[in-house]
């Protein structure tokens, strides 16, 4: 049971922890430098051994503390969730210790958080982008990133050199079948893009 006794014993002698709220589940604030120590304790002694989620929240450019990394843990014994919030100390180049040595599940979650928010996790075994491609220059889930996205150069320079385009056009842009939308019905009906011929006008050679 997650009751008063549990919370008191968890907080006892650990000044780096603070109770944030208890609305949907017990939420604790943890100081970054004690994160590994605390997550090991949760896993080994408090039965919170299933790391279900790790993500971050961007509080915006003007906030005093911009990035908060949020962990959700589940205990099969207590049948309860526990949320741990860690505020990133530096707004411009946020760095936190990686907990992938404690929870292997954190490996991909941390990669995703790095990919989307640009939060670095020190000591991470393989910290590289996971959803976007390796050379992608932005962090899409930051609040200043526009919904429409930003055009970026092609990942493949050799293709860019030939096409002169910044962004790779989709292989069949406009769909595999296109319609001119004007003229006689037989001419305007959708057809494959490279077939500009109809029953009445001959196929150009």
């Amino acid at each position: 049971m997650i009751d008063e006794d549990f919370v008191t014993s968890l907080l006892h002698g650990r000044e780096y922890l603070k109770v944030f709220s208890q609305t949907d589940c017990l939420t604790l604030d943890c100081e970054p430098k004690h994160l590994i120590e605390f997550s090991t304790l949760l896993r080994d002694e408090k039965t919170f051994d299933l790391l279900v989620d790790l993500t971050a929240v961007d509080h915006g450019n003007d906030a005093d503390i911009r990035f908060t990394v949020v962990l959700h843990l589940y205990s099969l014994i207590h049948k309860a969730y526990l949320r741990v919030q860690v505020n990133c100390p530096d707004n411009d180049s946020p760095v936190l210790p990686s907990i992938s040595s404690v929870f292997p599940a954190a490996n991909w979650h941390e990669r995703e958080t790095f990919d989307m928010f640009g939060i670095h996790f020190s000591e991470h075994p393989n910290l590289k982008r996971i959803l976007m491609w390796d050379d992608y220059p932005y962090y899409p889930l930051r609040k200043e990133f526009p919904l429409a996205g930003i055009e970026v150069p092609l990942p493949a320079d050799d293709v860019s050199e030939v096409t002169g385009a910044d962004v790779d056009p989709a292989p069949m842009m406009g769909g595999p079948f296109v319609s001119s939308g004007t003229g006689r019905l037989s001419q305007s009906e959708p057809r494959a893009k490279d077939e500009s011929w109809t029953e009445t006008s001959e196929k150009p050679l």
Partner: protein, 410 residues
């Protein structure tokens, strides 16, 4: 399958070959577009002969930025996007998302609405497992079971169409209820379907469960220990196959699951065969739940009547009453009003625990919505699981994990 052979030395099978045996590694690239990978998953592997020595999954080929999109639209507008997460069980995603927002908004739902949601969740589970089992059999070389499961799944889709108007992308829930009441006579059709389904499942079992070839290909392959499964955050049937008793429908009941009796199948070995057996049994349990829901379907409303700022009123009232017209206008233009706060909710979906972490600063638009996709977590074990297996086991392992890239890449 596109093969990249680092160095091919044909016709050099003499004395040199033996020395090459130890050092020669071939890098093999499976996917991103390959039938084995059930979507756009790419595996970069290193082979020693037929033995896989290294495997690195590459994701992101189906990344749409759903979480960014969610921050830019009202709560109800995001419902169609949840269809496209695990697109093999859209109804279950709809329900999980709606419950998350409702929990933060503090809406309590009438019993009928909860019963409808349990019903559609279990139907979604059956539909997802039918596909999972059928395709798994196909991955192991058995084509026929797939025909049986797909025939049944087709019937389910007809039922979905009658209920929601769409076969695939259902978008059936609204924040504070469901889109409409169940049509007349629909429950009878569902009952008829679940009465006939066990026959088809039996057929599949006859073809697979004691099939020598199938057993040889799946038993002892891709074994995940309980410790590993927990450490890598695996959930759902894959976790239970490893012998861990975690089913959120039992442990953290939502939407009135506590009212129905059902068993949670648990595996012993955690290999591909166990994962198949778990899915078979879960379908049978889902049938039991559906029968109970139909037998005890409560009357009343299918939406929260007292949630004035959350659920848009019925159409006939909008046209006749000023207050309801204003209410409808506000909900459509500004979105359902959700108080500031944060919530994390997980539902037991066919693929595992689908979680939504929602941060609200008030108003009708989420400030941050994180989607915890079960397929994403389930796949993270591949790096550890696959090395040591033969190349031909890849299809079976991937098939048994039953993942969906739409949800993995979001």
């Amino acid at each position: 399958m596109s093969k990249t052979v680092t160095e091919v030395q044909i016709g050099d099978i003499g004395s040199q070959a033996a020395s090459h045996m130890d050092s020669e590694r071939m890098s093999l690239n499976v996917g991103p577009s390959h039938p084995t990978t059930h979507g756009v998953l790419r595996l970069m592997m290193e082979l020693d002969g037929d033995l896989i020595t290294r495997c690195e999954p590459v994701l992101g080929y189906l990344h749409r930025g759903d979480e960014k999109i969610a921050e830019n639209m009202t709560y109800n507008q995001f419902v169609p996007y949840t269809d496209r997460l695990d697109y093999l069980a859209p109804l279950a995603n709809n329900v999980a998302y709606a419950i998350t927002v409702e929990k933060l908004a503090g809406v309590t739902l009438p019993e009928r609405c909860e019963a409808i949601r349990v019903l559609i969740c279990e139907m979604a589970r059956i539909s997802s497992h039918l596909l999972g089992m059928g395709v798994f059999g196909m991955d192991a070389g058995a084509w026929t079971p797939f025909m049986y499961t797909f025939t049944e799944r087709e019937k389910l889709y007809t039922l979905f169409e009658e209920l929601t108007g769409a076969r695939f992308t259902t978008s059936f829930t609204r924040i504070g209820g469901v889109a409409r009441d169940i049509p007349d006579g629909w429950l009878t059709k569902v009952e008829k379907f679940v009465d006939e389904l066990p026959k088809a499942i039996d057929e599949v079992e006859k073809l697979l469960t004691r099939n020598r070839i199938f057993l040889d290909r799946t038993e002892g392959i891709g074994t995940i220990s309980a410790e590993d499964a927990i450490a890598y955050g695996i959930t759902g049937p894959n976790l239970r196959a490893s012998g861990v008793d975690l089913d959120l429908r039992k442990d953290k009941p939502y939407s009135g699951y506590e009212k129905y009796e059902f068993d949670v199948p648990i595996g012993t070995k955690g290999d591909c065969y166990d994962r198949y057996l778990i899915r078979i049994e879960e379908v049978r349990q889902s049938i039991l739940i559906i029968k109970q829901v139909i037998a005890t379907m409560p009357g009343g409303l299918w939406y929260a009547d007292d949630a004035k700022k959350i659920f848009a009123p019925p159409k006939d009232k909008i046209m006749s009453s000023m207050e309801e017209l204003i209410q409808n206008f506000m909900i459509v233009t500004e979105g359902p009003q959700v108080p500031p706060g944060q919530i994390y909710f997980e539902a037991e979906n066919p693929k595992g625990a689908l979680g939504f972490y929602l941060v609200s600063k008030g108003g009708g638009v989420p400030y941050r919505l994180k989607i915890r996709a079960p397929s994403f977590c389930n796949l993270s074990i591949l790096e550890k699981l696959v090395p040591g297996h033969m190349l031909s086991d890849i299809t079976v392992i991937l098939g048994s994990l039953d993942f969906v890239m739409g949800e993995c890449d979001r």
